[in-house]
């Protein structure tokens, strides 16, 4: 029997779901390999019976928590899809302000109508089997994960930093261009897409499992940047990590 796959969106931009659709012509093959039983962005079909649940977005309301727990109870496998689900992503930037201040800045006098809680990644609420990092996640990695789950194989995360892929792409080092780049400590698997496109790494795929943070700090200091500048950069996509909170 084909695995029943469901997609659920929480607080985010829905760009991860869109990246899933952007397999383009391969989408037709994907549809044949699995049963997509819930994908609200493109489908009005609805089901509570699924094997694999993809969670997009971060957890930012009490309602989100209850909904995620319910999904966890029904799914055999839970996948955090994208930076918001894996680390809180850009949504965690709000955690550096009080919730009252966030509400007041956006809603002004009407702030009293609304409520929000600090941003959390999915695994801070329920156990998560797999993580597809990135803002957005890499299309090939999404396909690889689905193949692994369908075939009952183990899905291995990329263990090298972005730097490795950047060198393979023969890019000029972003530091040489006067940028400061989080490539040395960020989990690869993105083919260093941002540096190849002429920018730097912002760390959207979070830290590799054994990052050499101290060497990164030394490296940045060499280019005249403070630790505070560095941590602010980690904050952009990883505000819930301890390293960014320091």
């Amino acid at each position: 029997m084909k695995p029943r796959v469901a997609f659920f969106d929480f607080t985010g931009c829905e760009g991860c779901q869109l990246e899933t659709l952007n397999f383009n012509l391969e989408v037709v093959d994907l549809i044949n390999a699995v049963d997509i039983v819930e994908f609200r962005e493109i489908s009005s079909d609805h089901s509570d019976n699924y094997d694999i649940a993809f969670i997009e977005g971060s957890i930012t309301t009490d309602r989100d928590i209850a909904r995620l727990q319910d999904i966890r109870n029904k799914a055999k496998v839970l996948v955090a899809l994208g930076a918001c689900a894996c680390t809180g992503g850009v949504n965690s930037l709000k955690n550096f302000y009080s919730m009252e201040e966030n509400l007041k800045v956006v809603y002004g006098e009407s702030a009293k109508y609304y409520k929000t809680i600090p941003t959390r990644p999915a695994h801070a609420v329920v156990p998560v089997e797999f993580f597809l990092h990135g803002c957005p996640p890499n299309r090939n990695e999404i396909i690889r994960l689905i193949k692994c789950v369908v075939a009952g194989k183990k899905f291995e995360q990329c263990q090298n930093p972005v730097c490795v892929e950047c060198k393979l792409a023969e890019n000029v080092c972003a530091f040489e261009r006067g940028e400061f780049c989080l490539g040395p400590v960020t989990r690869g698997g993105c083919n260093a897409v941002c540096i190849t496109a002429g920018r730097k790494c912002w760390g959207c795929r979070s830290l590799v499992d054994e990052p050499n943070i101290n060497s990164q700090k030394d490296l940045l200091a060499k280019y005249g940047l403070t630790v505070n500048d560095v941590l602010k950069q980690f904050r952009l996509f990883n505000g819930t990590l301890e390293v960014a909170k320091q």
Partner: protein
Amino acid sequence: MTKANVNFTVHHVCRVEGHGNIVVNAKDGKIEELKWEIPESPRFFESMLRGLDYRDVNFIAPRICGICAVAHATASIEAAEAAFNVKLTEQASLVRELLLDAETITSHVLHYYFLVAPDFFGVGSVIPLASTHTDVVLRALRMKKTANDWADMLCGRKTHPISMVAGGFVKWPEMEQLKWLKEKLEGEYMKDLDASVELFKTLKFPDFTRETEYIALFRPDKYSFIGGAIGSTDCKPIPINDYQKVANEFCVPWSTAKFTRHLRDSYQVGALARFNVNSDKLHPKAKKVAQTFGLKAPCYNPYFISVAQLVETVHAVENSIMILDKLLSKGIKQEKPEVKVKAGRGVGAVEAPRGILFHDYTFDDSGKLIAANIVIPTNENHNSIQHDFEKLLPEIIDKPQDQIKLAMEMLVRAYDPCISCSAHMLEVKFK
């Protein structure tokens, strides 16, 4: 005759981007409750962007929306450029416009093929169509893929853009890539577009009208998607910096998204609004397609937004071919973006696929953001959807509940709401 009792909530309306609910409660034909609710979890971008360097602001702002990331990137960058008084070169303006055309097209194709068309085929999604109407689905995917590849080629990645920055681009397309695109657009794309027009001509759109104010960017010389002034069907063009006179955002307790109004109780933005404000400046081929559908400005039927999107797709393809001709004849120069930061405020205005979008930023003298205000097209449409509901429901209240529900969901879908942007939205509750 017994009067209708209608009671339902469509919770998280599907096939829209984000979450919204339709709440309907009528007793003896009298409507007691009728609400367009947006329960989307707010994102707090205007708060989160504070304190960030303008380059990070420009990189993070597209994360407001995965579908219209290029429009957000463009408006964000335009706001920074306005604040720092950066003048773009012709090449940078042309490539930026070419990139936005790609997003307009891929978003429109996604909307009319994947989100709207299933209603007309009587299915819940495009997924069953993959086996029953394979040619149609493959065509839609092909059209989307070309536009995605085209955007990836210009900015590194469509979701989310990388190489477009204040002052231009850090990486320029190769001449070979531009030639590839031109060939693709003039060949396969034209054929697929013709086939799309033939398909959508056979669909019957619901007959419903509500006259309102229509707002879109306006330039005297072209059908504008970037800059110009704020055009309206009700008044003379208004300078972009005065956008708050138009988009007066106000809060309603049942929605995390803000609502807006201008000269009437609501206004509409998006493809039909652009058509109503600017149709005289469409490419002749796009005008012809509009005629085929009997679409004439002003059109007051919101279900025709999808038709206006198809017309705009034709226009955007023709416009892009003109841009490509210019770029190919002049050659691509390896220009470097130049920005000198200074303290100040700037407003960027862009026509996102779903309508006029404003990013308004204030920076300190080191280029760090002090304050941001972002007005999202879907927010501007929420109030129009609510007023459409109020006119539509009494007209159809004696129909079976399923039909009422479908008509209301289709109306919401017609607006192509992008609720993640606006907060997030769409559920229909029949209580």
